[in-house]
Amino acid sequence: MANDTTAVDERPPGRPVRRLENVVVRFAGDSGDGMQLTGDRFTLASAVFGNDLVTFPNFPAEIRAPAGTLAGVSSFQVHFSDYDIHTPGDAPNVLVAMNPAALRANIDDLAPGSTVIVNSDAFEERNLHKAGYETNPLEDGSLEAYQVYPVPMTSLTVEVAKDVGAKPREAERSKNFFALGLVSWMYSRPIEPTVAWNEEKFGKNRTVAESNLAALKAGWNFGETAEVFAARFEVEPAHLAAGEYRSINGNTATAYGIITAGQLAGIPVFLASYPITPASDILHELARHKNFGVRTMQAEDEIAAAGAALGAAFGGHLAVTTTSGPGLDLKSETLGLAVQLEMPLLVVDVQRGGPSTGLPTKTEQADLLAAMFGRHGESPIPVVAARTPGDCFSAVIEAARIAVEHMTPVIFLTDGYLANGSEPWMIPDPEEFEPFPVSFATEPNGPDGSFLPYLRDDRLVRPWGLPGTAGLEHRIGGLEHEDVTGNVSYVPENHDYMIRIRAAKIERIADDIPLVEVEGDPDADILVVGWGSTYGAIKAGLTQAREEGVQSAQVHLRHLNPFPSNLAEVLERYEVVLVPEMNTGQLASLLRSRFLVDARTLSKMQGVPFTAGEIASEVEKLAKERP
């Protein structure tokens, strides 16, 4: 067991209770077994209990891959603790495996001595065969390194559900509630929130609601009475900053951020999107909140989504389109037009494994260079990235602010891990946000009473004049045009000038964004630079390295274009710069070309986030290599 800090604490009448600092539980089963739901409920109970937590849902792209196969295994990992944590945990302390495939797909991630709870009913010949087991691992001794608890979850569930009138096949489906009840007992999690949720969600279907409830209680009681488990465990509430919290995932935080950005800008939100994993939930969430004046449109394709959003921007709305990698490719032409028009357009790219369809449900950070350069012609676009699920909220507000204040498209990057992973989020006070009200042009700005759509202010930003405003009628377009008037121009020097002025406008955004802050040891020689969802793994990894006596510092970039103005100076202070990325070194190549710094890359492209241990060992290795 992880971090067992106290001796056995005998508390009658139950089993001995051990206190732990942190635990990582992974629920794994068939994609139809309800593992995501089980994990979600366990997470919420832990959150309500006051633990800090980070989750990592991991599921196949197929909605229902063939039952019992490795391809169909879906899992949900939750890391909960009595202190501030930043990753979903490197290795599970407990694996709940609902069938042989779930066991086989996950067992290698466990350290020896970890706990494995299996649904022994599922370990019959057919399932074993589907999972590729020639012998039953519960009987052949192959699991000797682990503490294995076979529990006949299916039959016990069917037994109790029978009493509430459920037929066996229906009843079987409640077995995830049995698992949830059992693990809740093991870790002294409250089941009340789940009981209330079950009633709310399934209350109308009495048999389902009552089977679930019966299975949940049976799981709890099994732990309590079956004398199988030697002890149960407690993880005390974490010492989080005082305040009101909720659990939030990155997509929800992004959606809330977009709604909030519209309010802060004082203009209505218009979202046009095409369904794509793992970004669709942002569209779903925003579609529910029409009372905020949010317009949502499910477009016919990714291109139309970008186009419709751009049209709404012309009409004075906070225009947003959400997508993932393949959709970003399709939006690049519209992004180029938005660059040429100098029109605010927020593109949210929830990155996933690529190229092409790649790994739709798995995470990756390989769209950075596409966001930077993935358009023909000179078309600079600001890029902003979120670091944690909760950070998606404020980072997307920042991206929207840059878009409307600087009249430019902005690409906001999150990824599959941030999108679906969740963490406690201290609920902000809307009164404390800094508003950035948009002021549209209302009067002609030309000498002869004309409107000059490309007459720039001192930040090189052009006015936003809206259709409907008398006296400001003007035309904009994708053809190169003169500065100031916007009239089409093919004059060679003009094109050169316009490319430079559009680029200078984006560069000047650096004056309007915060400086980077360095975390970690002030005297370190090693700097780890990250961006996006690697924040937690890097932070936790450097803490681990510190425990091994290796000092290091951390910079995590929210603004990737332009970079914060002190970045060059910060990079110069360190002898070694390491950039861990879930790509082959995209940020590293930007840093190298921009700052002539010998940035080293730590790559991982496995569809799962870095573990803290991977970061720590790389930093320790670098420290050893140094003279």
Partner: protein, 343 residues
Amino acid sequence: MTEATKESTALTRKDFQTDQEVRWCPGCGDYTILASVQNFLVEAGAQPEKTVFISGIGCSSRFPYYMNTYGMHGIHGRAPAIATGLAAARPDLDVWVITGDGDALSIGGNHFIHALRRNVDLKILLFNNQIYGLTKGQYSPTSEEGKVTKSTPFGSIDHPFNPISLALGAEATFVARTLDSDRPHTAEVLRAAHAHRGAAFVEIWQNCNVFNDKAFELVTGKATRDQNQIRLRPGEPLRFGPENEKGIVFTSHGRAEIVVVAEVGQDAIAVHDAHRDDPSLAFSLSRLSSGPYGPTPIGIFRQVERPTYDEQMAQQLAAAQERGGPGDLAALYRTGGTWTVEA
């Protein structure tokens, strides 16, 4: 957003013209269409500040630069998508899409049919010249089979779209065809399109005198037009010909057929009804010709009412606000359960 206060009745065509030099080839049909549209906007009392022209790419798509209204010259094929966003966000505007046969039917085919099916309040003017002009003369999706062009030296093997059939197939609520050279008819069709609430599709046969000259001659030329123009007039029998001697009947299968009136009798001739909700007969009429190769219906094929996309979007917003009150961020953040950590 400033409400217009100007008296618009005082405007002239000049008020809709820009100071930009019009750069279509001399003799291009686009000049006539530009004049027709500008004159129509004067006649309709349109307010320049409320009027927006969105275009894609191609010769016709230069149109917004010449209109002293709001305008956007967009990207190839995407004008209906851009215009959909604008019209849905701003139902107070008069949004027009200017497109061509390559722009709307080839690269932008998807956006075109979806704008029509959604019934967004847009007026789509498709200048059909059956050729790619701006790229100097490749065949287009409305070019006839066998068309010899630079990209089809042995003749095109593409079967062309019939734009009217396509629009009707997409269940467009307003579908019409007019001719660049017939300014009174263009004005009449524009008037009806402008008055229509929802997506109005107008195909304008437009002569490209450089790359596809006289493509429509059989239907528009003086010598043959009486034989080949079937004028669709609401409430009137579908008759045509130099002596009005021919007419249209619908067979029992719903197919439109050209007959000699004297042979079948006046009572057998179909009476044109664009307001019929079922699009089948309008579709049959559109099948009478696949292009300017014989007797071809000119006019309004279909004109029916259906709730518009922008209207319904606005209604959903209003209903949500009525139900839930204006949005409350503090409450939004708390959906789904919260807990408190004490100090």
